[in-house]
């Protein structure tokens, strides 16, 4: 199993947000996590990436069978965990291509591969940027500075295709995107799908899952996974709304909770 989460409890900002998550993702699989605002979706994404502000209070987090909590965020990244941020930050004065080259070379060093020089890197990134339909001028701009919401998300997907992670977490990458941008992002993601890779696609809306078709859908509510099922679960949710979660008893609850 690539990723195993067992009874994970986590706190952020003084509150317990995750209240016992169980989730397993095997190589080659794409899992979607859906849920209303405040259900803990972003905290789950952040805990996987190792954001220092999120504190694990209970449970286990294993990657390739090894505890992920032993690794600093940069080490997780080099091991192949990638988080496409919901709100990518701006880094003034640091050019996008310089940043991406530093990231790629950090990962390559870790893999024992040779670092790319500026010319080889430029060649590679120009090939990848076509995949997300971005103008090359974004390479020489400061990281995310003055990018529109959609441009920031494309930039995240661009970085993902460059770094070729083994496990990618997409945190509401679809939010704020028009349908064309959504398709571009989905194409980028689908191009990375392979038997060696796994993905966790976090979304509020079913819409993205028309383009990135998941193997499994989980529904997160109040820090717990309350339903898991096939891709049809997403459609069901879309029809009934999240309000339905609170009224219906758990039908197929893999975690055996809540009580």
């Amino acid at each position: 199993m690539m990723l195993e989460i067992r009874n994970l409890h986590a706190r952020a900002g003084g509150n317990e947000i995750l209240k016992g998550i169980d989730l397993c993702v095997a190589a080659g699989e794409v899992h979607a996590v859906m849920g209303p605002n405040g259900s803990g979706k972003s905290t789950l994404a952040n805990v996987l990436a190792g954001r220092p502000e999120v504190e694990i209070t209970e449970g286990e987090l294993l990657f390739d069978g090894k505890p992920l909590t032993d690794l600093a965020p940069e080490e997780r990244a080099r091991e192949g965990i990638f988080l496409a941020f919901q709100y990518p930050v701006e880094i003034p004065g640091v050019t996008n291509s310089y940043f991406m080259k530093a990231a790629l070379n950090a990962v390559r060093r870790h893999r024992g591969e040779e670092e790319l020089d500026a010319f080889d890197f430029l060649e590679l990134v120009k090939e990848k940027i076509r995949l997300v339909d971005m103008d090359e001028k974004f390479l020489s701009r400061a990281v995310n500075e003055g990018f529109s919401g959609g441009e920031k998300k494309r930039n995240e997907v661009l970085q993902m295709t460059l770094l070729e992670p083994r496990f990618a977490v997409l945190d509401e990458t679809d939010s704020g995107l028009d349908i064309d941008a959504l398709k571009v992002v989905a194409n980028g993601v689908n191009a990375l799908r392979s038997p060696e890779r796994a993905m966790l696609v976090i979304t509020h809306y079913q819409r993205l899952l028309d383009y990135i078709v998941p193997d499994t859908v989980h529904v997160l509510s109040d820090g717990r996974i309350v339903r898991s099922g096939g891709k049809e679960l997403a459609l069901e949710l879309e029809k009934l709304g999240y309000g339905w979660l609170e009224t219906e008893p758990a039908a197929s609850d893999p975690a055996g909770s809540p009580a």
């Binding site: 190792g50 600093a72 940069e74 997780r76 990244a77 880094i91 004065g93 640091v94 940043f99 990231a103």
Partner: protein, 486 residues
């Protein structure tokens, strides 16, 4: 966990100021204290003409008067115990056996010191295309490329040599930009200055290489008082760089330098500083008090003076490189990065005095505070009544790392001409946990991420530095922030 390519943050934090060594060398020094005899002694040691001694004595009396009236400036946002000006040694120099004819005669211990600092003075290994004047304890010990420069009529070397060889130029310009009575520290410097650099670029000459001075403080218990004078005649151009380091000592040492620049019609002077005096330890013990007066006069039409400074050292920095824009259409620029870590304090900025018509000035100031560092930007833009069409643009940005440091901005605007345009922008930001996490999530180590974010923040200033210095400055910013996170 630890990587091979990058040492861990803990290791980096342990690393000390790498220029903190002391050179064991015989010194010629006089006993502490300040009076007329001391000034006469310094002047005699330097075999100075009578007019210069007179000037020094006038400065001394002005200084003693100010000392008497207790007018040491206190308006700056810096705090330090009262300095006993009678407890300082005002002259120390590496002992010279005889007049040096070539670099081969320089004390090998001195040459080794500069090698350790990464500055090679030996003819075959010297920095390509940069002429270096090495000043050790306020005395110039060697100047490279002198002959090459002379072919162009350029004079570059120690201030003392200039007094002997070109007294008429020195007499004409010394104190013409920063008078001896200008301020407390300038008066002190004028009385006791020991050496410094001098550059003269004749009419129409574009200096073919960078001129550079490396200042090194070595002796203990001494004050350091250099005097630098650069004169660019009509249509000439020069780019000058200065670097500064000092040994690590538990006591505070006073450094009160004066720099005067004069640009005539169509002349351009680009003056770059990488200041890395010993900043004191993390508890604020030791370090240099850097109280410096730097001013340039754009005397001629369309003349231009540009100050670029990267200030990472010193326990206290009190420094305002300024431009007097006297010539019509003259241009003044100030690009500054100041960093304070641990308990360093800096009060720095500039003055742009617009006198002529259509004069233009640009101020870009980047302040970075970490640890318990405190820093203030203090800048004056004055537009005189005759400065029709004058323009100024000021941008002051502060970056904070951590919760215990501080950043302050004190802009002063005096506009006496209605046709002038003055713009001021200021921002303060914290190095975000979000930015750090974003970089780390991409595999970039925390220290590399901080260095990247800080260098990005300073980019507008760093790109003004000559190439060789830009790399040094970038590394310096990284080193100075070691131990500021985690």
């Amino acid at each position: 966990m630890a990587e091979s390519a990058n040492p861990s943050i803990e290791e980096l934090a342990q690393r000390e100021y790498k220029y903190g060594f002391v050179t064991d060398i015989e010194e010629d020094r006089i006993p502490p204290g300040l009076n007329e005899d001391v000034v006469r002694l310094i002047s005699r040691k330097k075999e100075e003409p009578a007019w210069l001694l007179e000037w020094r004595l006038k400065a001394l009396h002005r200084f003693l008067e100010m000392l008497e009236n207790d007018t040491e400036p206190t308006w700056a946002q810096v705090h330090y115990p009262k300095i006993d000006y009678q407890d300082i040694t005002y002259y120390s120099s590496p002992k010279k056996k005889k007049q040096l004819q070539s670099l081969d005669e320089v004390d090998p211990e001195l040459l080794r010191t500069y090698e350790k600092l990464g500055i090679s003075l030996s003819e075959q290994k010297r920095l390509a295309g940069v002429a270096v004047d090495a000043v050790f304890d306020s005395v110039s010990v060697a100047t490279t490329y002198k002959g090459e420069l002379e072919k162009h009529g350029i004079v570059f070397g120690s201030f003392s040599d200039a007094v002997k060889e070109h007294p008429e130029i020195v007499e004409k310009y010394l104190g013409s930009v920063v008078p001896y009575s200008d301020n407390f520290f300038a008066a002190l410097n004028s009385a006791v200055f020991s050496d410094g650099s001098f550059a003269f670029i004749p009419k129409g000459v574009r200096c073919p290489m960078e001129l550079s001075t490396y200042f090194r403080i070595n002796a203990a218990g001494t004050g350091q008082f250099e005097r630098t004078l650069i004169v660019a005649e009509e249509g000439s151009y020069v780019s000058y760089l200065e670097g500064c380091t000092a040994p690590q000592r538990d006591e505070n040492q006073l450094h009160a330098a004066v720099v005067e620049l004069v640009a005539l019609d169509d002349a351009e002077i680009k003056y770059s500083t990488v200041q890395n005096w010993y900043p004191g330890d993390e508890n604020g013990v030791g370090g240099i008090y850097n109280f410096v007066t730097k001013r340039g006069a754009c005397r001629g039409r369309r003349s231009k003076i540009s100050w670029t400074q990267v200030e990472t050292g010193s326990a206290i920095t009190w420094k305002y490189p300024s431009c007097i824009l006297q010539g019509d259409e003259s241009v003044g620029e100030f690009y500054s990065v100041a960093m304070t870590n641990h308990r360093q304090q800096a009060d720095t900025g500039t003055k742009m005095i617009h006198i002529g018509r259509d004069t233009k000035s640009t101020i870009i100031s980047k302040g970075i505070s970490a640890g318990r560092g405190q820093q203030s930007y203090r800048g004056l833009v004055r537009i005189g009544p005759k400065a029709h069409g004058a323009r100024n643009y000021s941008q002051c940005d502060s970056l904070l790392l951590g919760d215990e440091c501080g950043a302050h901005t004190f802009p002063y605007l005096e506009v006496r001409n209605a046709t002038a345009t003055v713009e001021h922008e200021a921002t303060t930001s914290k190095i975000g946990e979000d930015q750090l996490f974003y970089c780390r999530q991409r595999g970039i180590s925390e220290e590399d991420a901080i260095s990247m974010i800080v260098n990005g923040f300073c980019k507008d200033v760093l790109r003004e530095l000559p190439m060789e210095f830009a790399v040094e400055a970038q590394n310096l910013l990284g080193v100075s922030l070691e131990g500021s996170v985690g």
